[in-house]
Every structure is written in structure tokens, then in C-alpha cells.
Amino acid sequence: MNAVDLSVQIGRLKLKNPVMPASGCFGYGEEYAPYYDLSRLGAIVVKGTTADPCPGNPPVRLAETPAGLLNAIGLQNPGAVAAAAKINKLGALGIPVIVNVAGHSTEDYCRAVRILETESTASAYELNVSCPNVASGGMAFGTRPETTAALVKKVRALTDRTLIVKLSPNVTDIVAIARAAAEAGADALSLINTLLGMAIDIKTRRPVLANLTGGLSGPAVKPVALRMVWQVTSAVEVPVIGLGGISNADDAVEFMLAGATAVAIGTANFRNPYACPEVIDGIAGYLRHNGFASVTEIVGLAKKERPGGEHGAGKTDYCP
């Protein structure tokens, strides 16, 4: 069994393997610690953290859909100060700890980052710019290139730690937003966050979620996520963390072939608490089986090997 090199680089972070849990699907790590040694992970990404404590949305917060999950947790978290204590404990794992940061307004985001800069030993921030109820006229930061860029610049000025921007898929042109984030100083991009969705209970004749709408995740969204990873990695230079519907190593390999440098696993943890370590082992198995010495060799390979060599975002359907 020949050794394969699984390490990848995301900004200043050197990851020993490209697999991490997705924000909001792994708490602050405590819950999955009984299942395996968390230091096996490439990195750990913790729950969306806001400057102030946040109680979250009222129940019902979850609805199952075909091969998918709708959630409307509403960012329940103890706030940046209390989160910092939990984050610092994770430092003992010896792997990069990435904090997902959220807020209502630019000031909210900045305040959270300032607190985490002084109080926490976090290795990196993942800016969650897909929050629609914000100061700038009700439009989400992450749905316009200008607002994305403005926020990223502000946060960039506050920290030398690795800055990842997590993009919303609920947009017409993901590439424009990715470019704006990269140009404004993001070291890396994460995509995708959840697709906005809804479910209605035909017995009560009311929306299932108290919040009415929720975020769709899980295998159902994988084709959309993969397409966006392909498009964005064809257009920007910064590394991309691919996620959305990954539930096994084959899915993870698909994302890396599409151009992702690393992958994150969210909803799959709920079905299978061992999803992350199984994906790590499975990627190594794929590389060995196919004669690759390093995982970086397969990043974007589906673009490179394609005959014709047209590396763009592809033509689209429904056109003669």
C-alpha cells in the first residue's frame, strides 16, 4: 500500500487532508468527539457565530425533503465571547479551527471578528454572507458583488488570519460574486451554502417551518453545488472549499475533479456520524487505486482531461 499525500493548502492553512465538517452541522465539535478522534479531520468548521448570543428561530426548524433537508435554525449560538472559549478548547486537536461568522450588518460581522481576534485562537474565519435580513436595504450581502466586496474588505482589514468567504447559491451569477470576494481579499471561497426552499404540510395547510422558508442541503443539492464549484474554479484563482450534498468519498472526489481544493461535509454527518473519516479514507483509496501520488493532482482534473479543452462554465441547456 503506497502512501498518498492528502495535504492541501487553503490560504495560510496547511491541511493534512482536504476534509472538514460543514458549519452548523458539527456544533463546536463536542457532539461528534465520542465517535472518533477529531484530530483526524483536515480542519474543523464550527457553527455560525454572531457577536451577540442568538437564541435562533422557534420550532419547527427542520423538514425532510426528497434526498434533502430544509433547516431554519436561525443561527442559534452563544455569541462570540462564549464561542471563543469553545473554539480555544478545540486548539488541542492540533488542526486548523475555522469559525463561521455571521451578522445582521457590517458592524455585526466586524464586531464578531474583533472579539474572535482577541479572545480566540481560531485559525481562520469563514464569512457567511448569505444572510438576507441585513442593514443594506434587505438584500443579502452575498447576493450582490458590491456588498460582498465591501464586507470582505472591512473584515480583511481586521485580521491576518485566513479569510474564507462562504457564498450563497441563491444568485444568478455566482462567478461575479466569487470574483468580487476574491478581489476584495478573500484567501479562499466556500461554496455552497443552502438553497432557499420551503415545505408545506398538507394536513395543517401551513408551512412546516416556523420561519416559513429554510435552507435546503443534502444530496438533492449536489448537482447545483458541483456546477457552481466548476464555474467558480474556472474563473478565480483562490482555492475553493466545495460542499453541498457530499455523503461519501465518491461525491468528494467529484467535487475535487470539478476544481475544489478541499471539501466540507454537512448533512451527511446526521445520517452517518463517521461520514468525515470515511470520506478521508475513501479519497486516499481512490488516489491509490488510480495511481495518484497526491490529492492535489486531481483538483480540477475533469477540466484538464476534457477533450477539446474548453474550460469555461459550459454551454447551457435548452438551446438549439
Partner: protein
């Protein structure tokens, strides 16, 4: 082992809309704890289903469930010999009563965890009053061992087709007046509310087992919350780890 594949030994319908499923396995479980059961192996249905431990003896674990939707309907189609993938036991179970007597109130499928609780309480030398309610005689399921466990076992049906006619909670005030036992309840939300109210009036502690839609079952997703009474920022508690059993004063039912 927290995740395992078990072999189904027996599965059968024991009452209208109630299935009993026994699988081979050894588990150490508290009454009130639950399992996250995978009903299939493909991406649909996606999530595991939370089901209470109905019984747990040497080499065998038993579930009792009502086919309520897609997932539990698929579960009802399993056959002996099929494998069942299970995560658990999970959650916080029922605490033992401080005193000698416990009053268990089961509404419908709520009998699932309360039967196992009765067994454990009996083993701990407690005296048990067991009230079981159902819609009608067809949907009333009384596990064969239960009569031997409960000093006082009473049934109620909505239509009077078995036991007393009426709601399972109607006799509770009189019983609590008499014995002041600690109350344990599992059943539909309106029943739990009523049980909690009666217990409060009688000044006895009351433990309720709650249901919520779950994704992870282990506390990671924060999807399964119930409104908590405690006044800090944390307005919600997770049913899967802080529960499913709560003191009726801890949560807003």
C-alpha cells in the same frame, strides 16, 4: 457501539397502527432513551427516525412504533432477517422517582418508552400506577408483561370500547390526591399539557418525554428544539440531548 447493523428477529403488528420490532443486540439503555433508526439505505428517506426503546433485555432490543409517514411505513415493511442500522442509545432518560411510587401516563404510542420504564422501576422496587389511553380497543396495546409490573393498571379509550370511556388524564387528579407519586408521561402534546397541569396542581414532580423532528439526534444540528423556561439567551433546548425527557417545568409545552 454507537452505530450498528442489527438483525431483525421479529416484526409484527400488535394493534391497529402499532408495530413491534425486535432485533438481536446488546445495549445498555436507560428508559426514555431513543435510537436513531435508518429506515432505508438510499438517499430517500434521508434522515434516521427517532424511536424510543420499548424494551431492552439480554441480546434483544425492542421498538414499538406507529407507521405515521413515509419513514415508519417503510420500517413496517421490514422482515425478520433484514438488517437494521441503528445509532444510539441517545438522549437523557427518565430519572428514578425520589419516593416509592410512580404514576405512568401513556397516550397511544406513548406506551413505547413507559413500558420499559415500568420494568426498570419494578426492578428498583418501586410501586407503579399505570394509566394507558387509546382511541379504541383496536388501537390499545398492553404489553403482555405489563399487568405483572403495575400494581394498578387502568385503560381508557375515547369511545369506551375497552376500559373506561374518556381521556387517560381524567382519573389522574384523584390518583395523585391519593398517592402523591411522581408522574411520568408520554403521549400527544395536549395530553402532556394536561398531565403537567394536573401534576403542578397536585404539587408532584412530572417528567414528560417529548417528540421533535430530528436530523442528527446527537446535539449537533440544533434542529430539534423546544422552548425552554430558563431565562438566559438560550431560549431553546435540544430534545435529543437535553431531552427527550424533561421536567415539565423546564419547557414550554
Amino acid at each position: 457501539m454507537p452505530v450498528g447493523d442489527y438483525r431483525i428477529k421479529e416484526i409484527r403488528k400488535v394493534a391497529d397502527g402499532i408495530f413491534r420490532l425486535a432485533f438481536a443486540g446488546n445495549m445498555e439503555a436507560e428508559p426514555g432513551q431513543f435510537l436513531q433508526v435508518a429506515v432505508g439505505r438510499t438517499h430517500d428517506p434521508l434522515l434516521r427516525r427517532p424511536l424510543s426503546i420499548h424494551d431492552c433485555v439480554d441480546g434483544e432490543v425492542v421498538l414499538l412504533f406507529h407507521p405515521a409517514g413515509r419513514g415508519t411505513n417503510l420500517l413496517a415493511e421490514k422482515k425478520p432477517g433484514d438488517s437494521l442500522n441503528v445509532l444510539g442509545p441517545l438522549g437523557k432518560g427518565f430519572p428514578l422517582p425520589a419516593g416509592q411510587t410512580a404514576v405512568l401516563v401513556a397516550g397511544g404510542i406513548g406506551i413505547a418508552p413507559l413500558f420499559y420504564l415500568a420494568k426498570v422501576l419494578k426492578g428498583a422496587g418501586k410501586e407503579i400506577v399505570f394509566l394507558a389511553g387509546a382511541r379504541d380497543t383496536g388501537s390499545l396495546y398492553i404489553p403482555p408483561e405489563l399487568p405483572a409490573l403495575a400494581a394498578d393498571l387502568r385503560f381508557t379509550t375515547d369511545d369506551g370500547s375497552a376500559g373506561r370511556r374518556g381521556l387517560v388524564t381524567e382519573e389522574l387528579p384523584a390518583i395523585l390526591d391519593r398517592i402523591k407519586g411522581e408522574v411520568y408521561a408520554c403521549g400527544p402534546l395536549p395530553m402532556l399539557r394536561e398531565v403537567a397541569r394536573i401534576a403542578r396542581n397536585s404539587g408532584v414532580p412530572c417528567h414528560v418525554s417529548l417528540e421533535a423532528r430530528m436530523a442528527c439526534g446527537v446535539g449537533a444540528c440544533q434542529g430539534c428544539t423546544v422552548a425552554a423556561v430558563a431565562g438566559d439567551w438560550q431560549k431553546y433546548k435540544r430534545v435529543c440531548v437535553e431531552g427527550p425527557v424533561f421536567g415539565s417545568g423546564e419547557v414550554i409545552l
